[in-house]
């Protein structure tokens, strides 16, 4: 089991890519979630949206669809699209690891979103691979930088008072 560790530099690059996608796809909101439902980053208007819940439900959605795919002998359904009265959401899996979701309305179109998502997927995949490599290296070499290096049992106790 490997944990998901995000460092400052990768976060900045992911953030930049999401913002680019948000603008080029003319989206309302773009967000990246890990497969377990933790929100990684987002771009766009998150006012009035509970992004934590959104992240968890999106991951649940992908997990459920993945379950259906398995039952049907598919590896996965890598793209989901939900069409609403006003807003639509395009959800796809990136690098088999994280979920990219794009919320958009009539100011954009499914075609544009698909095209832009495809382009961003490549960029995000590269960042994620580098992140994995780095996380491995950090774990081996620079344990002293870990948030847990200095944490004592008392610190943990303190949290629960």
């Amino acid at each position: 089991m490997s944990d998901f560790v995000m460092y400052e530099e990768e976060f900045r690059r992911v953030d930049e890519e999401l913002r680019r996608l948000y603008q080029l796809a003319n989206a309302k909101l773009v967000f990246l979630v890990d497969k377990n439902g933790q929100l990684i980053a987002s771009a766009g208007d998150t006012h009035n949206i509970d992004t934590t819940a959104l992240a968890s439900l999106t991951a649940g959605n992908i997990a459920a669809t993945g379950g259906i795919a398995k039952l049907l002998g598919q590896k996965e359904f890598s793209i989901l699209f939900h069409e609403g009265d006003r807003d639509n959401i395009h959800i796809s899996i990136v690098a088999n690891k994280v979920i990219l979701a794009v919320l958009f309305d009539q100011r954009s179109s499914l075609g544009i979103v698909r095209l832009r998502v495809k382009k961003s997927t490549g960029a995000l995949t590269r960042i994620l691979h580098e992140m994995d490599k780095k996380a491995l290296g950090e774990k081996r070499g620079r344990a002293e930088l870990s948030p847990f290096a200095e944490i004592t049992d008392e610190d943990i106790d303190q949290l629960f008072k």
């Binding site: 649940g60 847990f148 200095e150 943990i156 949290l159």
Partner: protein, 195 residues
């Protein structure tokens, strides 16, 4: 699988409440939601049927506070307890950092508890986990009911490894936060071991 974000200085962990149908998993989360201050909690999401049986999962994010400059957050999930939702249960265990097993103390639910615990082991194994190696807390719920199995017997039936176990009445909240604190601590201690 926890998520450590150095940029926003956050540590996010996933805790799953597991157990047989109607044992009180959702009630645990509802009590935690009710008693946590608004700044500390997100929305309680329940994907339930019209009769309030959990269909997919309940979800409650809570923020504990800061630890050496890192915000610590727990994402609490429940699984649907009913036997035929097996496929959904398996999905929710993905990436779990710690498990709470909520046992229904009533005599007539003894078999259901044993079956559910076995189901937990199998589903964890499918995801590549071993229950013995995961932070794990046992909760004996519904201790206020008249027809309950004695704790010693529950211990020998469900808890041979002697993980921390708590007596609980989820409807009134007795034991709910004790359980949560225990699993939370175990999860963080485990993370500390790895980093």
């Amino acid at each position: 699988m926890s998520f450590i974000n150095y940029s926003s200085r956050e540590i996010n962990c996933k805790i799953v409440y597991y157990g047989p149908g109607l044992c009180g998993k959702t009630t645990n989360l509802q009590f935690i939601y009710k008693k946590t201050s608004p700044q500390q909690k997100g929305k309680l999401i329940s994907l339930a049927t019209e009769t309030e049986r959990t269909l997919f999962f309940d979800f409650l994010p809570i923020a504990l506070g800061d630890m050496r400059g890192f915000k610590v957050r727990f994402h609490l999930y429940t699984v649907p307890g009913q036997v035929f939702y097996a496929a959904s249960r398996k999905l929710i265990l993905k990436g779990v950092d710690g498990v709470v097993f909520v046992a229904d103390s009533q005599i007539e639910r003894t078999d259901a508890n044993i079956e559910s615990l076995e189901d937990l082991r199998i589903n964890l194994a499918d995801q590549g986990y071993e229950l013995e190696r995961l932070p794990f807390t046992m909760q004996y719920n519904k201790r206020d009911l008249p027809n309950v199995v004695p704790v010693a017997e529950l211990d020998s039936l469900l808890n041979p490894d002697k993980v921390p176990a708590f007596e609980c009445v989820a409807t009134s909240g007795r034991g709910v936060f004790e359980t949560l604190k225990n699993i939370g601590k175990q999860v963080l201690m485990e993370l500390k071991k790895h980093y």
